[in-house]
Each structure stands twice: as C-alpha cells, then as structure tokens.
C-alpha cells in the first residue's frame, strides 16, 4: 500500500491494519499524544517567546525521554504555521531555525561546526567563502584570507540573523555544548549571539544544562529555565493523566489484537519513570515483538520491551539528582509561589472588593 508518513492522520483503522509491518512501526513512532505536562510547558514557552518579553535565553530541561525534542519540534512547526497564516509569506525571512548540537568526537566544542549548521539550516550561500572585516584606526580591511575562520562564520551568522529577521533559534541536544567546554565561555558566546542578533535562543537538553544557564550571573537576568517534569507516581492526578495517555496510544494500536496496557498503567509508569517518551519507546519495542510473533501478544514481551533494572535505576538516580538541583530555580518558582501566593491573592482580592 503506497502510504506516506504524511497521510497517517487520515488513515482509518482498517487502513492502518493493512499497512506493512515497517509502516506500522513508523505509524506508532510518529504518533504523539497531547498531555497536561506538555501543554503546561508549551504555554509557558509561548509566553516567554513573545517579542515583548525581555527573556532572550530559554532552556527547556527535563529527564531523558520526557518529550523535550517532541515539544521543541512541535513548537517550531506551530510557530511557522502561525507566521505563514498571520503575516503572509515573506520569502526573504527565516524567522525560526532548529538545529541539533553536534557531537563530533572532538575534545572541545566546535563552534565552527555549530555556526555552519545554523547557516546551512538558514539556506545561507557560500558558507565556505565567508570573510570578516576588521575596522581599526579609520580603516576597513578584510581579515587575511583564511575562509571558514571562526570569526568569519560568527560575523556571517550575526549578519544572517539580522537580515533574515530570525526570531527564534532552537538548539536541541544542547548538553553537547558543555560536554568538554568551559561553561562561562560557552555562555558568553551564546549570550553575545542572542544580544547581537536580537533573537531568542532556546536550548533543549537534560539537567546538565541547568548548571550552564544558572551559574552565570550575567545570563541569569535574561534567562529562564523551564522544567519539563515527568509524571509522579505518587500523585493521583499524574497517574490519571498517564493512564489517559496510555489509553490514547492503545486506541491507535496498529494491530488487530490490542494489549490492555491501561490495566497495568501504574506498572508501565514505574517502568518508564513517568516519562511519556520512555513509555513510547517501551510500547514501540513491544509492538515490534508482537509483529515478529505474527500479531500474537504475550505479556512476557514487556520484560524485553522495558529497560533493564540497572539502567533504569541509573536513569532514576540521574533524574532525582536533576530534580533536586533545579528545585526553586525554574520558571514560576519565585517568592510569589506556594503559601505566600495564596496570602497575596487574598490580600489583593480583599483590597479590590473594598
């Protein structure tokens, strides 16, 4: 059946069941469910991305597999649709750019490769022929011809950002930026890029990003950290929402025999640490095992579909450390929160009535 990925939303149940095995896997992989945590972070992100907001460095941090990349990609797609619908098609501008920070095996961060990636994403011409100008003592000269120098690419990048009217630059897998580098040097560069080009920089990554963004006073004033939380098994509301997600995915199961995952939602929540991304990975693996078994389901597949205990504990530890680290430091956790907020709300309400 000649079905492309773009036609997945329009497929009926019969058509989904008639897909090839490979297409069924693609189908479930592409399937995404809107859930409360995603919606909450998306709403905050949209407010912070408003042009009237002074924040120009945003970081979305969270556990691995919680859905950060899905959110950032969806955000960019939606921003593009909004841009095209509201302002008409301005063929000369590139308001939104999305890149994934490279991990190229070097012992230190390669700003050249990051800048090149951004320029290529913006369809920039002659990236290997850029030069930079030196203005000194009333003279303007070209830096001696060594193309692709860092300064030349940086200069070209700033010019591109201004002339293409870039509004938002998303750098996914941003923890690659700090794997080997000096934190303050990295943040200096990023802050300067955001200031010079007047763009909003959105970094997406794990809890490691928190140290990058929060430990630098110069940046802290213009930066916000959004915590994409996982679902907590100890909170009934989170359990209900997680169960709803499982039920939704179950409703689109691309095989005739649909396993009853909703009944074991708490166990699945435990196995995926409350992260919807990890849940999806688990279910995808389970699907492949079911397909290999000609559509027959065996609960023992879950043993292979979920992460091993040691790995799971390792991830759990990292998540817990990260959650402790970011407590009190993320967007919304200000002095006006908790009990104090309730008191203030009462005060303001009563003064308003009087």
């Amino acid at each position: 059946m000649g079905t492309s990925e773009h036609s997945f939303p329009a497929l009926s149940r019969e058509q989904v069941l008639a897909l090839s095995n490979e297409q069924k896997m693609e189908y479930l992989k592409a399937l995404q469910v809107k859930h409360k945590k995603l919606e909450g972070v998306a709403k905050d992100l949209l407010n912070l991305l408003s042009p009237h907001n002074e924040t120009n460095i945003l970081a979305i941090i969270g556990a691995t597999g919680v859905g950060k990349t899905t959110l950032s990609r969806r955000l960019i797609k939606t921003l593009i649709e909004v841009h095209l619908a509201s302002e008409g098609i301005d063929y000369s501008s590139v308001p939104f750019i999305y890149i994934s920070a490279p991990a190229n095996g070097d012992k230190s961060i390669s700003w050249v490769s990051i800048y090149e990636r951004i320029l290529h994403e913006a369809h920039e011409i002659l990236v290997d022929k850029k030069h930079t100008n030196i203005v000194q003592d009333g003279l303007m000269t070209i830096q001696p011809k060594r193309y692709r120098t860092l300064a030349a690419l940086r200069d070209a990048l700033e010019s591109m950002m201004i002339n293409r009217r870039v509004k938002v630059l998303v750098i996914d897998e941003a923890f690659h930026l700090l794997r080997f580098g000096n934190y303050s040097a990295v943040m200096d560069t990023l802050k300067s890029l955001a200031d010079q080009s007047k763009i909003k920089l959105l970094l997406v990554g794990s809890y490691d990003l928190f140290d990058l963004v929060s430990n630098y006073g110069q940046v802290a004033r213009r930066a916000e950290i959004l915590h994409f939380e996982r679902y907590d098994i100890d909170k009934p509301a989170d359990v209900r929402e997680f169960t709803r997600v499982i039920e939704r995915i179950q409703g689109y199961w691309p095989l005739k025999l649909v396993p009853t995952f909703n009944i074991i939602s708490k166990e699945l929540m435990e196995a995926s640490l409350g992260c919807v991304g990890l849940l999806k990975a688990t279910l995808l693996h389970a699907l492949s095992l079911q397909i290999d078994n000609n559509g027959a389901w065996d609960p023992r597949y879950l043993a292979k579909a979920t992460k091993s205990l040691k790995l799971l504990n390792r991830i759990r530890e990292e998540i817990r450390e990260g959650e402790v680290k970011v407590k009190g430091a993320v967007y919304g956790e200000t002095i006006f929160s908790g009990k104090m907020l309730d008191d203030i709300a009462v005060k303001m309400q009563s003064s308003g009535e009087s």
């Binding site: 592409a30 998306a42 593009i80 999305y98 100008n133 000269t141 293409r164």
Partner: protein, 456 residues
C-alpha cells in the same frame, strides 16, 4: 492558531522542521529610490556582498552567474574582470537586463532597474553616458556615513554630472592618496562604497584632491539630471521619445520661430544632429540635450515631458535675441572658451605635479582625445609628455639597479653557503622580496655572461 491548538493526537514524522525555502540572497533594499540620491546598482551589489560577508566578484561569479539566464552571456568571457569596476552593471544592455532579472529574483526586490540607466534607454542615448572614473561628492558621502549608510549615487556615474548641486562642489575622482607603503595587499582590500579600495580608508579620507567650487552651469546641469533621476519610478508614465520630440519642436517653434539651425548653433550642435532627434532617427544624447536646455533656459524635465514652457509665464516669443549669451557671444562660443580654460589649467597642474603624469591620463581626465590637446596646446602637451618620459626612464633605471643589487646579494649569499645559483634558489634567497621570473632570468643571463667573460 496558537500552540494550544495542538490536537489531542498528532503525528510527528521526524522530518526536518523548516519554512519554505527563502530567497537566495537577503532582501536588501536599494537606497534612495525615487529621489535624486538613487543608489547605483554597483553600490547595491557591493552592499549585498558585504552583508553576505563575501566579495562582490565571488557573489556574482559563484551565485548569480550560475543562473541559466546568465550562462551564455559575455560575463563568462573575460568581462567578469570588470565586475569590480562596475560600469557594466549600470548600462542598459540586454546582458545587464538579464542580470537585473536574476538579481531581482534572488533578492525579491522589484525595482532594481531604477538603479541603472535602463529607465532612460528609450528616451535618451546611453552611448558614452557613463563616466569611466568613479566619482563622488565628499560632503554628501560624509553625511550618509554619519547616518550609517554610505553608498554611491547613480547620479555620480553620469558623465555630464561634474558637480554636486547641493554643496556646489566639483565631484572628486575616487583615487587613493595614501602613501604606497600603506597600500593593502589585494586579498585584504574591501570593495564597498565609501571605503577606499586601495588603502581601506573609511570615507575616502586618504584623498588629497582639494575640493573646488563648481561653476554655475555645472551646478545647473547636475540639478537638472538630479530631478530626472528622482522621477525614474514614473518614467514610463511621463516620459517617452515622442514627448521629447514634441518638447524640442515646441522650443524651436517658440524661441527660434521654427528655424532649427538657430537652436542648433546656439547650443553648439550641428543641424543634422538636431534634425535626427526631431525625426526620431536617433535618441538625443544627454550632454547635448542639456546644452540645448542651457542655451534656451528650459529645464530638462519639462522638455522631456513634452511641455517645456508649462510653468514659464515669461517665455512668450522671445525670438533669436534670447539665444545670445553674454555680450554678443553665443552659448557655443562661451562653452568652448570655458572648456579651453579648463584644459589649460589641467595641463599646467600636470606639469607642476610632484609625481609626473602621462599625457594620456590627463587626456582621459579631460575626456578629450590626445590629438585635440596636442593641436590646442602643442607646447604644454610636449612638456608634459617629455617630463613623464624622463621620469619613467629614471624609474626604470632605479628599479633595474635595485633588482641587480638584490640579485647580486642573493647570488653571493648562495655562493657562500655552497648552493647553486638557480631561479628557485634566488627566489628563496631574496625573500621577503618577490621578483618576476623575467627579472630573475634576465639577471641569471647577465650573471652567466659576466662569468664567462671573466673566465676568458
């Protein structure tokens, strides 16, 4: 639609997120379109290359000339070397028109033809319309640089504009006045309006040419052309060849009672030239047309619009006497005398210049042929040429001595370290100086001959 309108279920295919592919180049707008400060296309292309952080020649060669529309043009056959000299970018030929089409498509701009002479191509002759030299008004440029946008005006490219009508100063040739030691190597030179391409000085501050006050007729001519340039966006509506003919006919009828040769001789043209214009056989040249306007006191723009006397309530039947200029002299005689004085001044300046200049370059500056100068000023021309010849000969001798000394020292150095005297060894030995293969070969030949002479 907002981000909160995400459906409950959606499909994320993992394909790259991207907008529709943008224009090839940035949508940089040309400055001053619709005003007398209209930017020239060369200046625009230079600025476009600057924002892309590449050189203009690389932008044109590697990007624009790759377009199928420009694939078979003469651009590829050597004329590409003229890109940085620009004159090809503002003419009205078919090559330039295709180039502009490609540039407009690449930048999503629609009015780039207004930065060239294309709007005038059906109205005036564009033959020798443009100046070979780059010129500018230093004060206008300074004002623009202070506002953050130094660029080159299209007006300054027109040959018959020799002054700035705002500051009443003669236009200055863009020529580096810095010491030769301060010249930049080619790889470091920046090609951008307002920047000296030789030494990099911002605002051409290296120039030593003194500002001179312009004559009244120069200021008047510049003003007329400036008004014409400011009307480029509406040129199709208000100007045409037929209207120009109507305007000329009206002038001849009202001022010279229909006698063509009166107007022609007053303006310093031949009768046949004016007849050809009136019959539509040839397009008027701007320079000569301005002479007609100046002689008859008619502004250029109303003439081209076909209504030369629309705003003039005094003109009525002025007759032949109106064409007299000064006391019993015609305009033609007046302009010839002015031109003669100018040439004599330039020749005297060349004769007294610190560094002698060639007679050919002086003729080029004056825009007259060498024959005319030699006929009008035989003694002065001979002195200028002789002075330059002596200077050139002495410079050649000085250089020959320098090359000889350099190579001799290199040869003795090689002998002392036991290396053979070959071309490549000499080249290494004279580092950091460089000499051409010809110089080194000549030295080697002489060296061998001297050695053979010594042996015998």
């Amino acid at each position: 639609m907002s981000i909160l309108d995400i459906p409950d279920i959606f499909f994320e295919t993992g394909n790259p997120v991207c907008l529709p592919k943008p224009t090839l180049l940035y949508a940089t707008k040309p400055y001053g379109v619709g005003t007398w400060k209209n930017e020239s296309l060369k200046s625009y292309v230079s600025r476009l290359a600057h924002v892309h952080r590449v050189s203009p020649s690389i932008l044109i060669t590697n990007v624009l000339l790759q377009h199928p529309k420009l694939q078979n043009q003469n651009w590829k056959n050597g004329r590409r070397s003229h890109i940085n000299n620009n004159i090809d970018l503002i003419t009205s030929g078919s090559i330039n028109r295709n180039f502009i089409d490609v540039l407009e498509e690449a930048t999503a701009q629609k009015n780039l033809n207004l930065c060239t002479m294309i709007p005038l191509s059906n109205i005036l002759s564009t033959y020798r319309l443009l100046s070979i030299r780059d010129r500018h008004c230093p004060k206008c440029l300074q004002e623009d640089i202070e506002q953050g946008c130094g660029y080159s005006y299209l007006l300054w490219s027109i040959k018959c504009v020799t002054a700035c009508h705002i500051h009443r100063l003669k236009l200055v040739n863009i020529k580096c006045g810095a010491d030769e030691n301060n010249y930049l190597p080619l790889s470091r030179r920046k090609l951008l309006p307002g920047i000296c391409a030789t030494c990099g000085s911002i605002g051409y501050r290296c120039q030593t040419e003194t500002l001179k006050e312009a004559r009244e007729d120069e200021v008047w001519k510049a003003k007329q052309i400036a008004e014409l340039v400011s009307l480029f966006p509406q040129i199709d509506k208000h100007f045409s060849k037929d209207r120009t003919i109507t305007g000329l006919t009206d002038i001849i009828n009202r001022i010279a009672e229909g006698i063509v040769w009166v107007v022609a001789s007053a303006a310093g043209l031949s009768k046949s030239v004016l007849w050809n214009w009136l019959e539509g056989k040839t397009l008027p040249s701007l320079d000569l047309l301005l002479n007609v306007c100046f002689a008859t006191k008619v502004p250029l723009v109303p003439l081209l619009q076909g209504k030369p006397f629309e705003n003039d309530s005094i003109i009525k039947n002025k007759g032949r006497k109106y064409l007299l200029w000064g006391r019993g002299n015609s305009f033609a005689k007046f302009s010839r005398e002015i031109a003669r004085q100018q040439r004599e001044t330039l020749l005297l300046e060349a004769l007294n210049a610190e560094t002698p200049v060639s007679l050919s370059s002086v003729c080029l500056d004056m825009n007259v042929s060498r024959r005319v100068i030699v006929e009008q000023f035989p003694t002065l021309a001979h002195e200028v040429a002789l002075r330059f010849h002596e200077y050139q000969t002495s410079q050649v001798r000085i250089r020959e001595c320098w090359v000889r000394n350099l190579c001799d020292n290199a040869a003795y150095k090689l002998i002392s370290i036991g290396k053979p005297i070959s071309r490549s060894n000499i080249r290494h030995a004279i580092y950091p100086h460089t000499l051409s293969d010809y110089d080194i070969q000549r030295f080697l030949k002489k060296w061998k001959m001297e050695k053979m002479g010594m042996k015998s």
